[in-house]
């Protein structure tokens, strides 16, 4: 009887624990700069964290944030294996400017295009810059709106904590 009780408690607890997980990335299909379609929910980084940063070529603080991270990015990758996906919300007016800007700055990020805001909407983003941290299991564990000088250090602390 006692055994059964323990077993029952264990069963219920496992069930509840299994239900207690974070938010997963929504399934949205986006194109990269080469025109290839990628479903963001299947994006993998070998169990390492992923940073998703929404930006636009016309957004000054977005560019300031991504340029600040770019200087540290090599170290971040070496130390934690993190990958940054920079999702441009530029529409047809300025999508042509995304690749020149990325190359002009020498960014090493994965670049995805969200010209009609489908992914932006699915992620509940109001305005850019908006940055998400996704853990190795594909769960959103942290998010931040806006950028102030030095915010990249806080982001990196969160990455290291994973």
């Amino acid at each position: 009887m006692k055994k059964l009780l323990t077993l029952s408690i264990a069963l219920v607890a496992t069930g509840i624990l299994m239900a207690q997980t974070g938010k997963s990335l929504p399934s949205v299909k986006l194109k990269d700069l080469s025109g290839k379609t990628i479903d963001i929910s299947t994006f993998e980084n070998d169990g390492k964290p992923i940073i998703i940063s929404f930006w636009a070529t016309w957004c000054k603080p977005c560019k300031a944030e991504l340029n600040a991270i770019a200087e540290e990015y090599e170290d971040w990758q070496d130390e934690t294996g993190v990958t940054l996906i920079a999702v441009s919300i530029d529409d047809a007016r300025s999508t042509g400017r995304v690749e020149p800007y990325v190359n002009g700055q020498g960014w090493e990020y994965e670049i995805l295009l969200d010209p009609n805001g489908d992914f932006k909407r699915a992620m509940g983003v109001n305005n850019v810059p908006h940055t998400f941290l996704v853990d190795g299991n594909g769960k959103i564990v942290w998010q931040h709106n806006n950028y102030a000088t030095g915010d990249e250090e806080e982001l990196y602390k969160k990455v290291q904590a994973l």
Binding site: S8, P26, K36, W58, H130, N145, A148, G150
Partner: protein, 558 residues
């Protein structure tokens, strides 16, 4: 007996918690919230009115629920009353958007509201720009299907969001569309996957059906079709894209110019883009010809941003500095234009004498737009085709020209700066938004310096100057922004129209701003005098009147 009962109850509990979590969890809720409230003061000098209701508030919240392959969402909107400068057709509170969606790897079905874009948007773009009051969401059914790797098919039928009056009100017109795209590299992946050449081709067809027509003088087509194709090519560091769309005759009232009023001419749109880019250097060239491409799901006069089906992008950089972005911004001329743009970005390498320790980035941009060359047919009493144009044939009547340079440099870990120069030629008649109908020549200089004192404190200084002999004359702008930690920011800015020919209007526009950010939540207070400006997104602009008062904004994501 008791024991088996206990076990079965707990097993049921396990199953139920587990079945709730069958797709990883109980489902995911993602959403956001925004409210902008303004309390107005009267300020007769700048024509800022005090509306009877004294304050305005625009709010909305989006809630999206996802579980496995299923997702659904709503947006609750509230305009009590709409803030000044926002479309007055947005009134009251209610649901402005609701949808249900099911998707797997290949199939994606939406019923209810949805947004959509075909190609560059010339033929179809249903989108939202909440801060400008643009929302032409479709309401109907949308299907996306991938029958084979590399082949993407999309189709929909729906009506467009028109006004908001305690809820969503759609226009009368019906829109139907189909789009197909083939990515050759994905389709032929065994032979073509690693190729340096990447090829995408696509084609669209969009048709509208509408019976809105207030004129007894003309018989208008009830169904109007638009169609066209596009291609995207890449070879190594080179990239080319092109799109060509034809819109069949769709006479629309033009109260400003009789030569364009109810013209039965087909519309035509071409966008071409050629680029080369490598680390540290990029060049990008664009050309556009659009003639009679305005398409709405109605044939009666509505507000400028209402019921738009297509989107004609403006070939000009969207500037961010206040004097460069909101006084003389260009927007596509809906009747027609020929436009060109060139961008060059060069990074002077790091650790060189000229480039400095971190490198220096130079960006050049040139954009111009002209009226197309039109051969008028003088047939307004007979066939009403109006005029003839040839792709990229332009007249010598300039709408707009913008040459601008930015040089950006980081000097050390604590100091970075940029300088910008802008040279504008702007024909006020082209976009019909400002007060003085004349050709305006303006030059703008901007200096932007960010100084970081330590981990917690940084200051940004911004100085701008605009000089012009026309319109409101010279402007000076200064801003200081102090950031404390990653939460607080304090800014004060002044815009001074010292060059106004009317001495009474040589005014200061002083504004103070306090912001607090924590995670995905942002709060800000702004108090002071706001200059009138023109805010544009893509080819669409909205003139926002001057105001004086307090603005409180909250944005939040969850």
């Amino acid at each position: 007996m008791k024991a088996t009962k206990l076990l079965s109850i707990s097993f049921c509990l396990f199953l139920s918690t587990n079945s709730f979590s069958q797709d990883k969890d109980l489902g995911t809720i993602i959403g956001n919230f925004q409210t902008i409230s303004q309390y107005y003061n009267e300020d007769t000098l700048i024509n800022a009115i005090l509306p009877d209701h004294k304050m305005g508030m625009n709010s909305f919240a989006n809630i999206n629920y996802t579980r496995g392959n299923f997702n659904a969402g709503v947006r609750y909107e509230s305009y009590l009353n709409p803030i000044e400068g926002y479309p007055t057709s947005f009134r009251g509170s209610g649901l402005g958007y609701r949808y249900v969606n099911w998707k797997n790897k290949d199939l994606d079905v939406t019923v209810g509201n949805f947004y959509e874009q075909y190609g560059s948007g010339l033929i179809l773009r249903a989108y939202e720009e909440r801060n400008l009051g643009i929302d032409n969401a479709l309401d109907g059914v949308k299907i996306k299907y991938t029958p084979y790797k590399g082949i993407y098919l999309k189709a929909f039928t729906g009506k467009q969001r028109y006004i908001f009056n305690d809820g969503l009100t759609n226009g009368n017109g019906l829109i139907r569309g189909f789009d197909g795209e083939i990515n050759l590299n994905e389709l032929l992946d065994s032979t073509f996957n690693e190729s340096k050449l990447r090829v995408t081709i696509g084609g669209s067809f969009v048709s509208k059906f509408n019976i809105d027509n207030k004129t007894p003088d003309f018989i208008l087509p009830k169904n109007v079709g638009s169609y066209g194709g596009r291609i995207g090519l890449r070879y190594g560091k080179f990239r080319f894209s092109g799109e060509y769309i034809i819109k069949e005759n769709d006479p629309y009232p033009d109260s400003q110019d009789d030569r364009f009023n109810y013209v039965y001419k087909n519309g035509e749109g071409i966008i071409l883009n050629l680029g080369y880019s490598t680390k540290g250097f990029a060049i990008d060239l664009s050309a556009k010809h659009n003639d009679n491409m305005l398409s709405r799901s109605t044939n009666v006069t509505v507000g400028p941003t209402d019921l738009l089906i297509g989107y004609v992008p403006t070939l000009a950089k969207q500037h961010t500095y206040s004097l460069a972005s909101t006084l003389y911004p260009y927007a596509t001329n809906a009747r027609g234009e020929v436009a060109f743009q060139a961008d060059v970005i060069y990074r002077i390498p790091k650790k060189t004498k000229l480039g400095g320790k971190y490198g220096t980035v130079i960006s050049l941009n040139y954009a111009t737009a002209f009226a197309p060359k039109r051969e008028y047919l003088n047939d307004m009493t007979t066939s009403r085709k109006g005029y003839k144009t040839t792709p990229f044939a332009m007249s010598d009547s300039i709408f707009f020209q913008d040459f601008n340079v930015e040089i950006k440099r980081k000097f050390n870990k604590k100091l970075k700066a940029s300088i910008n120069y802008f040279n504008f030629v702007f024909d006020d008649r082209a976009i019909l938004v400002a007060k003085h109908h004349e050709l305006i020549f303006a030059q703008i200089f901007v200096l932007d310096v960010t100084q970081k004192f330590n981990k917690k404190n940084s200051i940004r200084y911004e100085a701008q100057h605009l000089s012009t002999q026309q319109d409101q004359g010279n402007w000076a702008f200064g801003q200081i922004e102090y950031t404390y930690g990653s939460h607080w920011s304090f800014a004060i800015l002044d815009q001074y129209n010292y060059g106004n020919r009317d001495e009474v209007l040589q005014l200061h526009y002083l504004l103070g701003n306090i912001g607090y950010v924590t995670g995905p939540h942002r709060f800000s207070f702004q108090y002071g005098r706001q200059r009138a400006g023109i805010f544009c997104v893509g080819g669409v602009c909205r003139a926002v009147p001057a105001s004086n008062g307090l603005t409180f904004t909250v944005t939040s994501s969850f």
